[in-house]
Structure formats: structure tokens, C-alpha cells
């Protein structure tokens, strides 16, 4: 009775025991974890690994109860081929997924330093078949979760770990630039995730998980067969190197006092270091807002159409324009993805103007049925152009690929046009993944021929 009531209320009942936990579980705070990339050397070994991992990959059942750690698994198109997935099924996947991120460099505007030719191994080589991720809320839980999957991988031949990257373990969960991040998440209808004020209206579950009604009113086209597609989704992975010293230099070159520097940096990001948004605290940081999840995302741009508080070209306003009246391209609700991005390396202090050469940056993870289309859209329209905000060809100041004459506009009376902005995050590589349901992992593991 109660259950029926809930179902009627949400209009859709998500099969949590089949969906992977990473789709609904938020990144813990503090967080620890590992991304591992695997190559399948022969189909038999690959299938055995999947059968073993099927017990280990965490479902979303009881997602609303705390959990010390969870593991997720995703598969690239070459991975599906290596597992011997039937041709009829392979052909049912969208073309951009089949081509892979490296071949989509044109659509993604991944040129210059971001071009696949400059990527770190093994990205873009076609050898990345599986992506395994562990998220944990403590170091102990992280180590034991990693040990658990490694144990299942050991003794299986025909599989090779190509690379492993640990992430997290930052004090206050700040990113490489020293900013708290990872705020906005879409509210998934039927997920019973209550979310936080400012997350926007509920988005239909079919935008995030295959097999449910989408924003169009019906399920989006799903990979075949149903056993493979249903309750799955796509995952986009992009590894960035953060040029924090270059960012610091740009701030120092364009602002004199410490207060002016922090304001300019906030104008670029759209938030202060604590996470407090300019929209709520336009003149100085307010850590009380930054640390309060019921307040730090609860705002609109209704009183700021010209960007006098939050610049139109700032990173967070571009990535989530909210109620900004866009000059072009308006359906923001089909552009939403679940973000599970993570920071690696230590952050570089804001006073440091020379890079120390240490690896640090961001692993961008976005989940959703349209995650690949959305990434390609974001890269060409919202990141590497400013037309939709009426700022010409200006690019996103944090993740845009800047040319020789890059600018950043700070609206005001008078406005400031800052020249000489550099690319503050360069791409080290990435892959398009399919994130199968738990039963689909078994289905893949049980493939014959």
C-alpha cells in the first residue's frame, strides 16, 4: 500500500537493485578512491572477470543508507567488441560511442594541446576496455574495497591493468585550484534523492537510466538487447591537468591587492574558495554559506541578467545557466548530467606563481543516457564558445581551450576585458564508457561463442 503510494507519487519505480550505485550515490566527503583502466586480452578472460566483478560492483539498493565504499564498472566500445558482444547488439549503440572520444576530437574541439596525439597512455589507443572506480568515505574503507576487486582480478588470465590512479584525500575536499566543488546535481525523478535547494526541478529518470520515461515523455533509444541496455547508462571520463600556477599568475597580473585577487578569481569561477556563490555573496567570501548544503546552491540569476555579480562568462554560470535568458540554445533540461568528478594530486597554494611540476588535476566524470551528446554539445557550444551568453567567441575561463587572443569579460561599470587568459586545464585523455546494470554485467560474463 505504502509502496504503491510512493510509486504513484513518483510516477516511476527505479529498479535500484539493478542500477549501479554510482548513478545515485553522491561523492562522499571527505572522499578517497581509485580509477583503474583495464584491457581485455581474450574474450574468455574478460568474461570471467565480469562474472567475478558482478558480485563486487555495488548496486543502488539501500542507496539512502550510508555505505563505507562502493565499486562501479564501465565498458568502452572496444571492450564490448573484445568481450564478443554480438554484431546486432554492437550496431545498436550510438555512433559517437562506437567511435570513441579520441575520434570525436573534432566535435569535442579537442585540438592543440588537448588533441589525442598529446594524450597520456593508454587513453585513445583503443586498449582501454574496462573502467573500474572505487569511491570511499575513509582511507581504510577505500583500501579494503580496492583489495577486494584486485583479489577478484588476480588469477584471471587474459586481462591487464593498464593504469591506476588514486584520487581524493584532500583536506576540505577542495580541487587543485583550492576551490570547493561538486555542488549541483540534477534531481532524478523517482530516485527519491531529496537533493538540495537549487538543484532545479526533477528531471525524468529516462535521462539518466535506460528504460524509463525521459524528458521527451518516452524512453530514449536503448542499446539492444534489453538485458544489456535496461538500467544502464553512459559514462564520460576526461582527465585534466590543472595549470594552477598559470591561473595564479593571471590573477596576480590583473589584480593588485589580496582582496581584489580573490574577487577576480571568484568572478572567473563564479564561487569563492569556500563554495559560497557570488550570487549570494557578491563582495566577499562567506564560508558559512559555502559549507551549508542547504544554502550554497540555492540561488537563481533572476536579479543579475547582465552578470554584474556572477559574470555571464564565469565557469559555473556557463555550466549551469539556471534561469539566465540565453541568446541561443535554451533547453537546459536535456543538458543535465550527473557529475561524479574527482580531484587528484594536492592543491597548489594561491600564492604560487611557478608550477612545481607535480601531477594535479581533475577527473571529469559525467553520467547520463545523453552524457556523450551532452559533452559534445557542452564542448562546442557552452565551453569553447560564448555565443549562447552573448559574449561572442569568449571561452569558458576554467576548462575552455584558449587561443592566442583569449579574453575574459567581467561585466561592470565599466566592464573589464581581461586579455591573455591561458588554458588553465589541459586534457590528458578520456574515454566514452557504457555503464551496464548489474544483471547486464552477468549477461556479458555469460556470453558464449
Amino acid at each position: 500500500m505504502v509502496f504503491e503510494g510512493i510509486k504513484a507519487w513518483f510516477g516511476v519505480d527505479i529498479e535500484f537493485d539493478k542500477v549501479q550505485a554510482a548513478i545515485v550515490r553522491m561523492r562522499p566527503e571527505p572522499y578517497f578512491g581509485t580509477h583503474a583502466l583495464l584491457e581485455i586480452r581474450d574474450a574468455r578472460g574478460g568474461r570471467e572477470v565480469l562474472r567475478r566483478l558482478a558480485e563486487r560492483v555495488t548496486s543502488a539498493a539501500d542507496w539512502d543508507k550510508p555505505r563505507p565504499a562502493w565499486t562501479s564498472l564501465a565498458i568502452t566500445y572496444p571492450g564490448l567488441v573484445a568481450l564478443g558482444v554480438p554484431e546486432s547488439s554492437l550496431a545498436s549503440f550510438p555512433e559517437n560511442f562506437r567511435e570513441g572520444m579520441a575520434k570525436r576530437a573534432g566535435a569535442l574541439r579537442d585540438g592543440g594541446p588537448n588533441a589525442p596525439a598529446n594524450w597520456e597512455q593508454p587513453f585513445g589507443t583503443g586498449r582501454v576496455h574496462l573502467g573500474l572506480s572505487v569511491y570511499a568515505g575513509s582511507e581504510a574503507a577505500w583500501r579494503s574495497e580496492v583489495a577486494a576487486y584486485e583479489e577478484r582480478l588476480a588469477e584471471v588470465s587474459g586481462i591487464e591493468v593498464l593504469g591506476r590512479q588514486d584520487f581524493g584525500a584532500q583536506p576540505d575536499s577542495v580541487n587543485a585550484f583550492g576551490y570547493k566543488d561538486g555542488f549541483t546535481q540534477p534531481k532524478v525523478q523517482g530516485s527519491r534523492v531529496s537533493g538540495f535547494p537549487g538543484d532545479g526541478r526533477e528531471i525524468k529518470a529516462g535521462e539518466f537510466i535506460f528504460g524509463y520515461p525521459s524528458e521527451t515523455g518516452r524512453p530514449l533509444l536503448m542499446p539492444a538487447p534489453d538485458e544489456l541496455g535496461r538500467n544502464g547508462t553512459f559514462l564520460v571520463f576526461r582527465k585534466y591537468y590543472s595549470h594552477v600556477a598559470a591561473f595564479n599568475r593571471f590573477i596576480h597580473a590583473n589584480a593588485k591587492t589580496e582582496a581584489e585577487r580573490e574577487l577576480l578569481a571568484a568572478k572567473i569561477v563564479g564561487r569563492w574558495r569556500s563554495g559560497a556563490p557570488l550570487a549570494l555573496s557578491p563582495d566577499k567570501d562567506n564560508p558559512a554559506i559555502g559549507e551549508d548544503p542547504s544554502r550554497n546552491n540555492d540561488f537563481t540569476y533572476a536579479d543579475d541578467p547582465r552578470g554584474l555579480k556572477t559574470p555571464l562568462s564565469s565557469h559555473i554560470r556557463r555550466m549551469n545557466p539556471r534561469d539566465t535568458k540565453l541568446k541561443a540554445l535554451s533547453d537546459v533540461n536535456i543538458r543535465r548530467v550527473i557529475r561524479r568528478s574527482t580531484t587528484y594530486g594536492t592543491h597548489l597554494n594561491k600564492g604560487v606563481l611557478v608550477d612545481d611540476g607535480q601531477p594535479r588535476g581533475l577527473d571529469y566524470l559525467a553520467i547520463g543516457v545523453r552524457a556523450i551528446d551532452t559533452l559534445e554539445f557542452l564542448q562546442s557550444e557552452w565551453i569553447n564558445s560564448g555565443n549562447f551568453m552573448g559574449v561572442g567567441q569568449e571561452k569558458d575561463p576554467m576548462i575552455g581551450l584558449q587561443g592566442k587572443d583569449g579574453t575574459f569579460t567581467v561585466p561592470g561599470v565599466p566592464p573589464r576585458y581581461l586579455r591573455g587568459i591561458e588554458t588553465f586545464n589541459t586534457l590528458l585523455g578520456g574515454e566514452y564508457f557504457f555503464m551496464p546494470s548489474i544483471p547486464a554485467i552477468r549477461w556479458l560474463g555469460d556470453l558464449k561463442n
Binding site: 533509444l221 541561443a328 536535456i334 551528446d373 554539445f377 557550444e381 564558445s385 555565443n387 561572442g392 567567441q393
Partner: protein, 202 residues
């Protein structure tokens, strides 16, 4: 310029360009060859109007893309459309809500059995179609509903349908390839502000 002067000027241009010209348009007049060669030899001119792909299908120069579609009309489709166009005095101003739309035209072909739709728009094909679906779905369905087999602007098949009837341009030119509709709007506002400012100075 006399013909011999034209020949001399042409011969002074890089050999690679002369060779390309002779291979492609050997039958053209020297004047035309010279006209084309001068442009090909100017890297700035070539770069500013470079033609790329508009995403899925069609050409793009700078920020501005082209779309030409020819599709069969349903029985009586032309009549319905003519009534609609007459009602609005042939003025499709409502489409201006699509902030990437420069212009568009509807032309009847082959005894009004086919519809030609041609437009210039900013950016890439996929977001452009998404914008139509979001902003003016009723107008899209009313107009294109007169085409044989139109699946509906919200149908998951609509993009494949449009792509099937689209004929990509063979060549494409835009006078100001970087002036998007949004940029034109911004420049107009900026110009007004500058004029006000200068007016108040005097």
C-alpha cells in the same frame, strides 16, 4: 589591366596555386583565374571565410551554417501552407525566438508538390534542431506537418528524417562569418550605448 599584364600577374603567383587553378578551371578566362588565384594566395582571406562542417550535415563558414531541405508535400499541403503564410502576411517573425536563426525561406517546387526550406543559422546542426523543438514546436509541426511522413518535432526520429531530405550545399559564403545573431544584437546595443555616451558629451 591588359591581358599580358594579367598573365604576368598570374605568373608571379605561387606555382602550386597556378597548378591547382589550371587543373580545376583550365577553361576559365585569365581574368577569373587571376581573381581566384589572388584569393587563394591570401592566407588571411582564406582563413576568415574557411568552410567547415556544421556537425552532422551541411557547411559552415566561421560561425554561420547552411541548411537546405527539399521534401515531398502531402496532398493539399501547399494549400494549407499558403493559407498560413497569407494569414501572417508571409512574415515568419515568431521564428526569431530561435536565437541562432539568421534567415529562412519556404519555396514551392514542381507544381507545388515539394517544399524547399533553406536557412542560415549559427553553430551546429544538432543544437539548432533541438532549439526549434524547444522554442517553436507548434510552428514546426504546423509547417512541416504538411510534409509526407513528418514524424513530429518531438519524435526521436525527427533528426534522421530531416537529414534524409537535407541536401548539403556544394559551396557556401557568408559576408561576416563571425557575426552571429547574438553578436549582432550585442553590437547594436553597444553602438546605441556609445552613441548615447557621445551624444551626452556634446
Amino acid at each position: 589591366m591588359t591581358k599580358s599584364e594579367q598573365d604576368m600577374t598570374l605568373n608571379a603567383l605561387p606555382a602550386a596555386i597556378r597548378q591547382r587553378i589550371d587543373e580545376a578551371i583550365s577553361d576559365a578566362s585569365v581574368a577569373l583565374k587571376l581573381f581566384v588565384a589572388k584569393r587563394l594566395a591570401d592566407p588571411a582571406m582564406v582563413a576568415s571565410h574557411r568552410v567547415t562542417k556544421a556537425g552532422r550535415i551541411g557547411l559552415k563558414s566561421g560561425q554561420v551554417s547552411e541548411l537546405t531541405l527539399i521534401a515531398p508535400l502531402k496532398q493539399g499541403g501547399a494549400e494549407r501552407l499558403k493559407k498560413f503564410f497569407a494569414l501572417i502576411d508571409q512574415n515568419l517573425q515568431g521564428a526569431g525566438q530561435v536565437g541562432t536563426l539568421h534567415n529562412m525561406r519556404f519555396v514551392f517546387l514542381e507544381n507545388e508538390t515539394k517544399l524547399l526550406f533553406a536557412t542560415a543559422y549559427d553553430g551546429e546542426w544538432d543544437p539548432y534542431i533541438d532549439d526549434f523543438a524547444t522554442l517553436i514546436p507548434e510552428m514546426m509541426d504546423y509547417i512541416f506537418g504538411n510534409i509526407e511522413g513528418w514524424p513530429g518535432i518531438h519524435s526521436p526520429d525527427v533528426k534522421a528524417f530531416i537529414e534524409r531530405y537535407q541536401i548539403p550545399a556544394a559551396a557556401w559564403f557568408v559576408a561576416d562569418p563571425d557575426i552571429t545573431v547574438a553578436e549582432a544584437d550585442r553590437l547594436r546595443r553597444q553602438d546605441k550605448a556609445v552613441r548615447n555616451f557621445l551624444g551626452n558629451l556634446n
